[in-house]
């Protein structure tokens, strides 16, 4: 307890500095409303349900897009490592599309699917798929030949080997790819919602900012930032559990 207090003391110091700077009016209160006002605005928004309903629709979009990208990306990456024809067909496309800043796809997904949930889910799916694919591909490719050979000599068929040897040894890199995808999902979610949306965190931030209720805007910004951070921490705990057998 005391250790983590010392560890996170700098964050508390920054928070105190923020409150002081705003209260002493070292900076204009529109640019930086006091932290206590931001917290009060946050509690208000939780109470009237605004934050919860917008948050739910944002998390639904991110979750759906991410789940799709994990399923399709894993299948694609492992098939690329396992069947050379698939690799030859897919690898050049992956190489071309991987460096493309995925947020450039925002206007296209809007053209295809409109302003609602569909376009955001498609965007997050497309953006998050490649890191997962590359993680699965690198992981599956690096599965030890000795393991593959011994499994084969013990009479495992190809499908059995895929499940028992290749998938477990691909796990660490695959999980790492999914972590990248998780961070990307939040980024794409917020940027697409800031550009066009009728609900969600990004919409709420834009709406509150345009109305000049900056304390509420700060509250939503920090909520999103905290959720991104918390999702990463929870995911890492989960990964640690999954990979326990490796030690």
């Amino acid at each position: 307890m005391k250790q983590s207090l010392i560890r996170y003391l700098p964050l508390l110091l920054l928070a105190a500095g923020w409150e002081l700077a705003a209260r002493l009016e070292l900076v204009s209160s529109t640019a930086l409303p006091p932290l206590s006002d931001v917290i009060a605005a946050w509690i208000d928004m939780i109470k009237d349900g605004e934050l919860v309903s917008n948050g739910a629709s944002s998390l639904y979009r991110a979750g759906a897009g991410l789940a799709l990208s994990v399923i399709v990306g894993t299948l694609l990456g492992i098939s690329m490592a396992w069947w050379k024809p698939v690799n030859v067909l897919v690898a050049p496309l992956v190489e071309i599309f991987y460096p493309l800043p995925k947020s450039a796809l925002i206007p296209v997904t809007v053209i295809w699917l409109g302003f609602g949930d569909g376009s955001k889910i498609l965007l997050i799916f497309l953006g998050c798929m490649l890191p997962v694919t590359i993680g699965a591909f690198n992981g599956a490719r690096s599965s030890e030949q000795v393991l593959v050979w011994s499994a084969r000599s013990m009479g495992a068929n190809r499908l059995r080997m895929l499940w028992d040897v290749v998938l477990p040894s691909a796990m660490p890199e695959l999980l790492n790819g999914i972590r990248t995808a998780l961070a990307l999902a939040f980024i794409l979610l917020v940027s697409s919602e800031l550009i066009v949306a009728q609900k969600g965190f990004g919409y709420l931030i834009g709406f509150l900012g345009a109305n000049g209720s900056y304390d509420a805007m700060y509250a939503v910004v920090f909520t999103v930032a905290f959720l991104g951070f918390a999702a990463d921490r929870i995911y890492q705990t989960f990964v640690h559990r999954v990979l326990l057998w490796r030690q």
Binding site: K84, V88, L105, V108, I187, G206, V224, G228
Partner: protein
């Protein structure tokens, strides 16, 4: 893996033929993709608004190039991305070095980095606009804010990973702290730092494009958003192609620089991947 089964059995000539065929086959998917695009457009399943013909998109890119818009927008976007990247690189390496050599700096910045790294920093964009306006300065600030985290994290890990024996021997031979830093620690840490920079560079371009899309104005992202507002879908698709080409060139250039800088390192001798 199928290749491993068969390769040792075939004579050399056949193997060369096979590898050339595989290399040629790599083009197939790109040709297929373009053919599928053209086919879908011709079939009339989608409206030209949803998917403009490839020809129209190329024409639009050509017009952009001739009128000089393409050069200006690319230059503006690259300018922002590169300024942001270099500030993030210099600041990130300096901060990372300070953190690994000074206990107070580590105590203060470590929680900030570990909390800030996984945050979706783009959410802070409206706050930055509120403070700095919608011009270059706020775009570059956003880029630095996003790109500095991987550099700091990589630098800290890199310096921690420098072999103790190297440092001890240098000290033993009378190296001063300054020499130690510049001649031993930094070169030994360079491969990992470069990996951090290789994450930060595409990130800089991503943030440059997003901030342009959100704030408007010149730049590849801004031009694309303008096209989107006027429902000009060839313009939108042309924007994607232009941004993709710039992104591809940046990533390739960075990989090349890495190989040149690390020519002395054992990784340069390894087969080139990516």
């Amino acid at each position: 893996m199928a290749a491993i089964d068969q390769a040792p059995l075939s004579p050399p000539a056949l193997r060369i033929l096979r590898s050339t065929l595989w290399a040629g086959a790599r083009l197939i998917s790109i040709v297929l993709l373009l053919a599928a695009w053209e086919l879908v457009v011709r079939s009339g399943i989608v409206t030209p608004f949803q998917l403009p013909a490839l020809g129209n998109v190329l024409e639009r890119i050509w017009n952009d190039a001739v009128s000089g818009d393409l050069a200006i927008n690319t230059a503006v976007t690259l300018y922002r991305a590169m300024i942001g990247f270099f500030i993030a690189a210099a600041g990130g390496i300096a901060l990372g070095m300070a953190m690994s050599r000074n206990a107070i700096a580590r105590w203060f910045f470590d929680p900030l980095i570990s909390v800030g790294f996984p945050m979706p920093k783009i959410a802070f964009l409206p706050v930055v606009i509120l403070w700095l306006g919608v011009f270059d300065i706020s775009k570059i600030t956003m880029i630095v804010f996003d790109a500095i985290f991987p550099v700091v994290a990589a630098t800290v890990i890199a310096i921690q990973g420098v072999e103790r024996e190297l440092i001890w021997s240098a000290r033993n031979m009378g190296a001063r702290e300054r020499e130690l830093l510049w001649q031993i620690i930094l070169p030994a840490a360079l491969p990992t730092i470069m990996t951090g920079l290789q994450v930060a560079l595409p990130l800089s371009l991503i943030v440059a494009v997003v901030t342009e899309m959100l704030m408007g104005g010149y730049g590849l992202g801004g031009a694309m958003m303008t096209a989107s507002r006027f429902a000009n879908s060839p313009g939108v698709f042309a924007g994607i192609v232009e941004i993709a080409v710039v992104g591809y060139a940046l990533v390739k250039a960075m990989a090349l620089i890495r190989r040149r800088l690390l020519i002395w390192h054992q990784e340069a001798a390894e087969p080139y991947t990516q």
